[in-house]
Amino acid sequence: MAISLPTISTLRRFALGLCLAMLGSAAVAQEAGISGPIEGDVIGGISNPTAIAVPDMPTPRAVDTPAGNTADLGRQVARVIEDNLRNSGFFNPVERQFLRDVDMPQVTAPDYPAWSQVGAQNLVQGYVQAGSNGRLTVGCYLYDVFAQAPLERAGYEVDYADWRRAAHRCADMVYARLTGEGAYFDSRIVYVAESGPKDNRVRRIAVMDTDGANHRFLTNGQSIVLTPRFAPDGRTITYMSYLNDEPRVYIYDVESGRQRLLVNAPYMTFAPRYSPDSRYVVFSMAVNGNSDIYRVAVSGGQPVRLTNTPGIDTSASYSPDGRRIVFESDRSGGQQLYVMNADGSNQRRISFGGGRYATPEWSPRGNLIAFTRLGGGFRIGVMRPDGSGERILTNSWQDEGPSWAPNGRVIHFFRTPRGNALPTLWSVDVTGRMIRRLPTPVGASDPSWSPLRN
């Protein structure tokens, strides 16, 4: 799945307008498995998003590929890039009616005055080319329209089935270059798909691209499944299943599709999360009414107990350097957040506000901890690891279960309405200004973001 970038000389040849050998491939119908994007709405947003134009990408030669004709792919790649940038909240794409056709020579020599005339501050152009090696190349060029200068360019070579990933990586390049934040579009989300009435709900583990495409179910819904988490290396997913009416933590291998029990114990195990190096899982085990936090190797073995207090200790999450763990405990009465060293030593409370604090997750940047605050309703908030600087980001009846994007800038969570309606997935940025619903085919809860794919 690794993507090798075309050499600079390849891109230079393109800059000179030299389109090299392209072998026509047999016409193949578009794969049914490739699903399109799902539309979403941005609610709110930053006050002054950047106007950016993403015109359709030309192809040096229209060729049928397993993913469709390269001329169509050029249009679709541009739309995926545009949707990603819009949904980030940082960009205001120029409306399609004002977009101009771009031919191959213009990809590297933009008509700056024309783009300036439609109000574009930045311009993303590119091309889509079927390669002789059975793969697809997408060239991606970012320009500053006001300064009339190129800013950055990159090329992505992918299998045809992964054409959307080339678009995501182009959008990631643009996003990172213009915002100064880390990339996050080329990633996936694992979550609990929910359907049916509240008293007989069917729950399935599902994965999808960050924009909702390439959706698939990993479990069949016969057993209740909860709290899936992507391993930082992207290879496995840990979750809790009620298989055989025994609620236990499992490890799911993404490539083989096989699952195995993490810990063989006669007690409920739950609330699993990986260590940053993907070698360990922290989880809770409930023994006769007392839940404590343990650590075990992903490969199995003997768990090591990290907390030892009467009460409920759960929802453990590692710091990105792997040296500390944040968790929730009701040892002082209600649920509050605590931080301890990774070996369980030096446990200290960090949350002291009114109400209760739950489900902490440490940011991949290390600078913030996201949590659910309970009191009146459930709200998503962030605080620094020492408990200072608390900010509440959402306001609804039940917002729960924050999960960080790989760039530590955006948080996913799930929102449960009153009554019998299904929960939904949402994202909010760390400022709380950009909140957006993530469309899913059915109800959805417990989102967990994968690492950036590479």
Partner: protein, 172 residues
């Protein structure tokens, strides 16, 4: 290895604590278990009634299969004790029956915490039954957290119905 032996020790300590809490009220003061106050919903009983040891028999003989809890609590109150006493009497009269005790929560807690809270509730019921002489090896506890409510509303009456522990006798 040492971890699990410590766990076992804590399990024993936890049981002792639970028993201690339950023994605040002397057994002699407990009201006699009501018998036959619940009509089985599994159809007409016929001249001989439900088969002994069956779920229908349990529902007919025990005051209820369900006890209820206060918000974020797993305390067993006097009303719960009366119900559990009637369940214990039936279980002692049907010593070959194994049961599952389900712990449930209302929706006003986070998912992972509620899994733990439901486990507390199921254990509170199991520990009480154990103190009344029911062999612990006959009882399996399972928590469903807030994932299996019986009342679908988001109101105090619904929440009260969902904060529960249910003693489930196998069908047949």
């Amino acid at each position: 290895m040492t971890q699990f032996s410590r766990t076992a020790i804590f399990l024993a300590a936890g049981s002792a604590l639970a028993l201690g809490a339950c023994s605040r009220e002397a057994p002699d003061d407990l009201p006699p278990p009501p018998v036959g106050t619940t009509t089985p919903d599994t159809g007409p009983t016929g001249p001989t009634g439900p088969a002994p040891g069956s779920r229908a028999d349990f529902l007919a003989q025990a005051a209820s299969d369900t006890i209820f809890f206060e918000t974020d609590s797993y305390d067993i109150d006097p009303e719960d004790r009366a119900i559990l006493d009637s369940q214990a009497a039936w279980l002692l009269a049907n010593p070959s029956v194994r049961v599952t005790i389900e712990g449930h929560c209302d929706e006003r807690g986070t998912r992972e915490y509620n899994l733990a809270l439901g486990e507390r509730r199921a254990n509170a019921a199991a520990n009480y039954l154990s103190a009344r002489g029911v062999d612990a090896s006959r009882m399996t506890v399972i928590s469903y957290g807030k994932e299996r409510p019986v009342a679908l509303g988001s109101d105090p009456a619904s929440w009260a119905q969902n904060r529960r522990a249910v003693t489930v006798v196998p069908i047949g």
